[in-house]
Symmetry: C2
Subunit: 346 residues, 2 copies
């Protein structure tokens, strides 16, 4: 049973403006300044686990070239283009039907393209363990991130009884909690962050989608004959928009009888905000996280600075701000106000 990787790369990352733009969102940008974009880092961390011939990307039609450029060597047939955003269930369905057509025995890991993982070894161990588990039968596995703080920005997964060592029955999904609730989750234990990473066999997810998302499954059955043919995109463009707009969590995960959660800790972040980048990037003594090799900080503290390498910048007396320049667009704002960034552009 061959292992396949599906990278979900349709997001638009509007909270990371000006670095992230609708034309080139977060997943296609080297946000951390490490020399690799987020989608490249996502690809890289499966090295040794997934063969490049088994890598799939689902993205928006407008990002086709970006994917092909950044993930060189990937099979063009494996870049799936959504003509419009229909949330994650139709997207998962499309790629699952297609993988199953090519490889009915396929085991699949689904990963967002724009998340950060700091501990690659722990990550690889978790993925290996997960594949072992889902290879044993009809199982829908989600990776739950062991919480390190009472985070209110993530959804939580509540564990049930232990199904096998380190893997639990999934008791319930919990929406983003308020602080009080988040603290209680942390104190009680048995709650993990919903990372958006899933593992299953192609057969299982197709079956579960047929059961719980029959409208979407019906559309996929219509598209199926055109898959891997010259007509595929045309048919997808026509039929995909007719899919119900629903997340895989709501469509399948909350209803299926075979859901499991595997808690894991590998330095994960969804890098959803400048603040999370600030938390995760190396700091100087004054709590500044600076990405950019020609930045001078003077009497400045608590700032998140991200500018291109080579750009000469002097910052004096600034506190707890974001300074970001990308494609010649400059943003200076308070870190505390970052949720409003998307209101300020376009």
């Amino acid at each position: 049973m061959a292992k396949h990787l599906v990278i979900m790369a349709g997001g638009i990352g509007s909270r990371f403006w000006p670095m992230s733009t609708p034309q080139k969102p977060k997943q296609f940008i080297d946000i951390t300044g490490c020399g690799r974009t987020m989608i490249q880092q996502t690809f890289d961390r499966f090295d040794g686990i997934i063969d490049i011939d088994h890598v799939w990307v689902v993205t928006s039609a407008s990002f086709k070239e970006l994917v092909a450029e950044q993930l060189t060597g990937i099979n063009p047939q494996h870049i799936l283009l959504e003509p419009c955003m229909r949330n994650t269930a139709p997207c998962v369905a499309y790629v699952s039907w297609k993988i199953q057509k090519e490889d009915p025995e396929a085991l699949i890991v689904v990963a967002p393209s724009d998340h950060l993982v700091m501990k690659t070894d722990a990550f690889k161990a978790a993925i290996a363990k997960g594949f072992e588990f889902v290879a044993q039968g009809d199982r829908i596995l989600t990776l739950g991130m062991t919480p390190t703080r009472p985070e209110t920005g993530y959804g939580y997964i509540e564990q049930g009884t232990e199904a096998c060592p380190g893997i639990f029955n999934l008791a319930a999904f919990r929406e983003k909690p308020d602080l009080q609730t988040a603290i209680s989750y942390l104190e009680k234990g048995g709650y993990t962050w919903n990372s958006g990473m899933f593992m299953w066999s192609a057969a299982t997810i197709v079956e579960e989608l047929r059961k719980y998302a029959s409208q979407i499954a019906g559309v996929m059955d219509q598209i199926l004959p055109a898959m891997f043919t010259d007509r595929e995109q045309e048919v997808v463009n026509e039929l995909f928009p007719t899919c119900e707009k629903i997340s895989i969590d709501y469509a399948v995960m909350e209803k299926t009888q075979v859901a499991f959660v595997q808690p894991a800790e590998f330095g994960w972040s969804d890098l959803g905000t400048w603040g999370s980048l600030h938390t995760l990037t190396a700091h100087d003594d004054a709590d500044n996280a600076v990405i950019g090799d020609s930045v001078r900080m003077i009497e400045a503290s608590g700032n998140m600075v991200k500018v291109p390498d080579g750009k000469q910048v002097v910052i004096q007396g600034l506190k707890n701000c974001i300074v970001s320049e990308h494609n010649g667009v400059l943003l200076i704002c308070q870190l505390s106000e970052e949720q409003r960034i998307k209101e300020w552009h376009d």
Copy 2:
């Protein structure tokens, strides 16, 4: 007696970094965003008073091309290149000797190249009045700016008795005062800011320099035969550096018996600092002075922003700061710390 204009353009404007650089200092930059550089504005405001054939520029050898580019139509023989900085007395001497050689009857106004004048009509009236005065004989006239606030960043001129309507004997130069003294000047009256603008005939200034700066006059006499010949620059390069390093204020103004001051008010500033630019530029309701046509200010107040037109900038929550980008170099600092800007670059 023809009227000549001498523009002093040798300064290096280090306090205006990153806009002003040693390669292209303040006078060659469109600081106010009006579409004309400071030296062009200086030239423009003498329109109708001084014929272009009577415009002279003294500058550093490295700025020769900048002057020629920005003041098109100026006689190349009238761009005088100092091989090194020797303060203002040798510079005034060189151009005065040269003007006198071409036009012994010349009347001269000397003006810095990087100052701001807001009220051009009042300026022209003051210059006309000054020329009338210095045309009448051996007179060294300085224009004193009527103070509008107890400024401690300028030198002051103390007036003596009124020599003729609106023109006074010059009693004394006063160094930059402390705030207490500046307030007393304002209360007493009879004190004006030293603008660095002078008027005289070529004959008078040459005579006064012979009297009070004989070393410099001696060097100029040696250079004189080479002026307007192919050898001029070579001889200047050899002899000019031997001049005493001294300002025209110290060398002549404080000693001469024929010094006068004409108080005037034409919205003048030496634009010596970002703060003065902030004071003089149009403000929004939140006291932001913004130069740049694509800047969005949100909950920001008291800032001085200067970025290129077309550069998209969003600034939120910033207070009393300078934000300047020039040639791709970005400075963000507190307005109160602007005197330290020169420490932060090179």
